[in-house]
């Protein structure tokens, strides 16, 4: 398959996908003509198809989609309401588009369908006169020709090209060519006889001749002029072909005879394999967790050594296996880059500019699914650079720059990411101009414009509907392209970084994770919940004291080196019930996405872990701020933070970082106005013992709640009905003993400060030690005096003496 065919294939696959969805969307649109989201989506499809088809020189298709786009663009800007009549025409044009795509798939050309009538209608709708010129369809090229060329030698006894001398070879080629021409002519005659008109037929011959001789066909020049050309005698180009090349070319045609070093595997199988690896990674995480637990419990035992070894081997092999499978899914990014030199050439002609494209790192490999996603964004970025970035030669010369502009396309690895960098040496982005345009279009408010950093201003170009171009051209200026870039890159968890200097040029970096299914994540805790944040979005973590948080216009901010970082508490995003934690410090996870930054306040940092992304399923899909879930080593489910959505949510959430904390303090201190506001829980399996404690404490006037074992106590506590100030806990109890109860209670953040007092007849030193380890603050041995018990309770529950 040559390059053109490869690109064509990609184009067809993509277009059919897009068109399939388009039908659905359009019908939906008819019901909700006001739905801007939907319109934007439909418009993007038309735009993408147009862009790709113009680059592939399918002029009829481009012509049609261009007019479709016009109509949709008007509707998008509210200048046109989609009425059923208009929708009929739009749907008709979609049908034509489908028919054209089908023809392209079968013949590699978009001839044979008359779109002029529909185009006129479209043009009338969008306010034009209806007199548009129709380009002539390009001729059928490539495919049939190529197949025949390959097939031809097989018909004969396969002459041995290797041993031919140049003259013989040339004669052989000439013979083959003549043969081909004869066949072609016969076919054409057949077609003509069948009533079909074959346009620009002679070009087939011109096309085919170099095809057959040249070993490395240049990005096969398909008929680029839609106007029929006068026939040229075919043998001419073939004579000029260097003989050495011809010699080299011949054997390559027979290459399949060599031993196969690769096998083709269905992508589905690889996906399945990847899923299995995902399961394995989860099991490995679990194994590591269990190993840690066992280590803790049986410290010093001999078998631990062995277990450790096995666990580390398993985890090592799992990691290697994961990398190996990931590699099988990798494709060189060159597959995407290949189509750009051609695109730049066409664009420079169209725009009358001189631009050179430099490509670096085309061997860099990426996951297949990601390679598929980044094709479109790159097309849009490069078109943008050509149209808006690089200036025309005379302006460049006047500015003292070389006449020819340069766009460089680089791909390289950086840690766990691939960076694709697109630089141009054009005019750069003018921050003030961007802000003014955005203000004009009502995308931002005056105030936002003032407080906006340069980076934020650059990212304005990604907003839907934003365009700085004065006129809509065939190349760009509608304000969708960069929106496509943002959507697609975010879909693969990538981030976009724009840098620019006026007059010098701009640079855009796309940072994309290597794979989608398994990622590194930072696990954070808030109260007793855990969340996983994709490590790719984490810039750094800092520990700050609460005094470092300032409030500006109702929002919490902190100073991070020379920047001011806005803060949001993870609890506010995920509706976590927050009980005051007295700690002086907080952890801030600094998240970066493209040019935006935000500080996420969390209670604890748990650590870094490799997680497998699982979907939440249809029932729970689309929860804002949640990208999915993962299963942890202990079998529990942890939600994965969607950093993109979180940034949006943070803007809406009114920060309560400080306010709430103060309110809580007030509430708790206010609450206690009399002795009975204090609540003490008595946990003992013996009714007599509970009675004795009750007798000792009742005189204080505090409220007493009883539980007969650890399990019951835990349930009462968890029900949240009561807020306890202290607990008296017996050690030996059925179902759950005092130590386990204490350990369970201390797992909850909100009970960290709850004083647990052991009341027991166990007096051994080791018992006391265990008590302290499990989180008990006092240890009262039976028998005890009532006064002593009361004083211990008073001290620990901090009961104010004026209530007694």
């Amino acid at each position: 398959m040559d390059e053109f065919q490869e690109i064509l294939q990609d184009f067809l696959v993509e277009s059919f996908e897009l068109v399939e969805k388009l039908d659905e969307d359009l019908v939906e649109l008819e019901n909700n003509p006001e739905d801007l989201e939907l319109l934007n989506g439909i418009f993007r499809v038309a735009h993408t198809v147009k862009g790709a088809s113009s680059f592939l020189n399918f002029d009829v298709l481009t012509h049609l989609t261009h007019h479709m786009e016009d109509v949709l663009n008007k509707a998008r800007h509210g200048e046109l309401l989609i009425t059923p009549d208009i929708m009929d025409v739009v749907l008709e044009s979609i049908d034509l588009m489908k028919a054209l795509l089908n023809i392209i798939r079968d013949t590699s050309a978009d001839a044979g369908i008359d779109v002029s009538e529909c185009v006129v209608k479209l043009d009338k709708i969008s306010g034009g006169e209806g007199n548009v010129e129709t380009p002539v369809a390009s001729a059928p090229v490539e495919e049939p020709v190529e197949e025949e060329v390959i097939a031809a030698p097989v018909d004969e006894d396969e002459p041995d090209y290797d041993n031919m001398d140049p003259d013989e070879l040339e004669a052989e080629i000439e013979k083959l060519l003549n043969q081909r021409q004869e066949e072609d002519r016969a076919k054409r005659e057949e077609k003509v006889a069948a009533g079909e008109t074959v346009l620009a037929a002679p070009e087939i011959q011109e096309e085919k001749a170099p095809e057959a001789v040249e070993p490395t066909p240049e990005p096969v020049a398909p008929v680029s002029t839609p106007v029929p050309v006068t026939p040229t005698p075919p043998p001419a180009p073939q004579k000029t072909a260097p003989q050495g090349d011809a010699k080299a070319a011949a054997p390559t045609k027979r290459a399949p005879a060599a031993v196969e070093q690769t096998i083709r595997v269905d992508v589905k199988r690889l996906d399945h394999l990847m899923n299995l690896i995902g399961e394995l990674v989860l099991a490995k995480n679990r194994l590591i967790k269990i190993n840690d637990d066992v280590e803790e419990r049986y410290e010093g035992e001999e078998f631990l050594e062995e277990l450790n070894q096995v666990v580390s081997i398993v985890s090592l092999v799992t990691t290697d296996l994961q990398i190996a499978v990931m590699k099988t899914r990798m494709l060189p990014i060159g597959k995407v880059f290949n189509k750009f030199p051609r695109m730049i050439r066409d664009l420079t002609r169209e725009l009358n500019k001189k631009i050179e494209l430099e490509i670096e790192g085309e061997d860099t490999e990426l996951d297949k699914s990601i390679v598929e996603e980044i094709g479109d964004p790159l097309v849009h970025i490069i078109r943008n650079s050509c149209d808006h970035g690089v200036e025309t030669p005379d302006i460049r010369l006047a500015a003292g720059k070389p006449e020819t502009g340069t766009i460089s396309l680089k791909a390289y690895n950086e840690g766990n990411q691939i960076v694709i960098q697109i630089d141009d040496d054009g005019k750069g982005l003018d921050v003030n101009m961007l802000k003014n345009k955005a203000l004009e279009k009502g995308l931002i408010s005056e105030k936002e414009a003032d407080t906006m950093s340069d980076k934020e201003a650059f990212s304005l170009i990604m907003r839907p509907g934003f365009s700085t171009a004065a006129a809509v051209t065939n190349v760009s200026g509608r304000g969708v392209g960069m929106d496509v870039v943002k959507t697609n890159i975010e879909k693969v968890n990538g981030i976009i970084d724009i840098e620019s200097e006026v007059g010098k040029g701009s640079s855009m970096k796309l940072k994309i994770p290597l794979t989608l299914a398994i990622i590194q994540a930072l696990l954070v805790g808030v109260q007793e919940e855990h969340y996983a944040i994709p490590l790719a979005s984490v810039l750094e973590t800092v520990r700050i004291s609460k005094d470092e948080i300032y409030t500006v216009e109702g929002r919490s901010v902190m100073r991070l080196r020379e920047d001011v970082l806005s803060l949001v508490h993870i609890g506010d995003i995920f509706e976590v019930e927050r009980i005051l934690d007295a700690s002086e410090h907080a952890y801030v996870v600094v998240l970066g996405l493209g040019t935006q930054k935000i500080g996420l306040i969390v209670d604890t940092l748990v650590g870094q872990e490799e997680i497998v992304i699982k979907s939440l399923g249809d029932y729970l899909k689309g929860i804002e701020g949640v990208a999915g879930a993962t299963i942890r080593g202990d079998g529990g489910v942890t939600l994965i933070v969607d950093v993109v959505a979180l940034m949006d949510m943070a803007r809406k959430v009114k920060s309560t970082v400080l306010v709430e904390a103060n309110a809580n303090v007030a509430q708790i201190t206010l609450e206690k106005t009399k002795a009975s506001d204090y609540k003490i829980m008595i946990v003992d399996d013996s009714k007599t013992d509970r009675m004795i404690m009750r007798k000792a404490l009742e005189p204080m006037g505090v409220t007493l709640i009883e539980a007969s074992d650890g399990q019951e106590a835990l349930n009462i506590l968890k029900s949240g009905e009561h807020h306890f100030d202290a607990m008296l806990v017996d050690i030996e109890m059925p179902r759950m003993d005092g130590y386990s109860l204490a350990t369970e209670i201390k797992k909850y953040n909100k009970y960290k400060a709850l004083p647990l007092i052991a009341v027991t007849s166990r007096t051994g030193k080791s018992d006391r030690m265990r008590g302290v380890e499990s989180g008990m603050v006092e240890y009262i041995t039976k028998p005890y005096s009532a006064d002593y018990l009361a004083s211990v309770v008073q001290r620990n529950a901090k009961i104010k003496s004026e209530f007694l």
């Binding site: 399961e279 989860l282 919940e529 995003i573 995920f574 509706e575 976590v576 699982k614 979907s615 939440l616 399923g617 249809d618 029932y619 729970l620 929860i623 804002e624 701020g625 949640v626 879930a629 299963i631 079998g635 529990g636 489910v637 942890t638 939600l639 349930n715 029900s719």
Partner: protein, 165 residues
């Protein structure tokens, strides 16, 4: 002889197949469970499994009856408290509480129920439509089954698995 044998075998086969058809036509197999005071049932074939309660993870921005998600052998599955969904106050889980995992097509979800009753075989003839006042497309009730001494509300699995927020 072999012809005769074939005939007999064929006859038997026919009889058997009509037998089973009759059975499946007439009898509906359900699993009954209690929520609050009422007995409900779902078709046995919609049940993937019934498990004892275990821990789950809360999910934000969902109605109160969606408790969160749990891990069922490697799949992340939503957990719905039917008590709350049916407008009853939430209750702490006890020894009798079960998670009902229902499946239809690709949709899977766990439902918390108060207590299991029994597998029920009920004749189709004994299943009446839902009362007029609550019938329609929106209702979760598929029909009402009558057995000697009790009335069982049969629920629509697809409605249970449908997200309505």
């Amino acid at each position: 002889m072999s012809d005769k044998l074939k005939q007999i075998i064929n006859k038997q086969g026919e009889q058997q197949s009509t037998d089973t058809l009759d059975q499946s036509d007439d009898i509906v197999q359900l699993v009954g469970f209690i929520i609050g005071e009422e007995e409900y049932a779902v078709p046995i074939l919609a049940i993937q499994e019934i498990i004892k309660p275990f821990s789950w993870t809360r999910v934000p921005q969902v109605p109160p009856y969606v408790l969160g998600v749990f891990n069922l052998r490697g799949s992340v599955i939503p957990l719905i408290d039917l008590r709350v969904q049916f407008g009853l106050p939430a209750k702490n889980h006890n020894e009798e509480t079960r998670f009902f995992v229902l499946k239809q097509g690709d949709e899977v979800a766990g439902f918390v129920i108060d207590r299991l009753t029994a597998a029920i075989r009920i004749k189709k003839a004994n299943i009446g439509p839902a009362p007029d006042t609550i019938s329609g497309d929106d209702t979760m009730i598929d029909g009402v089954g009558k057995q000697e001494d009790r009335i069982i509300t049969i629920l629509k699995v697809d409605k249970l698995l449908e997200r309505d927020f």
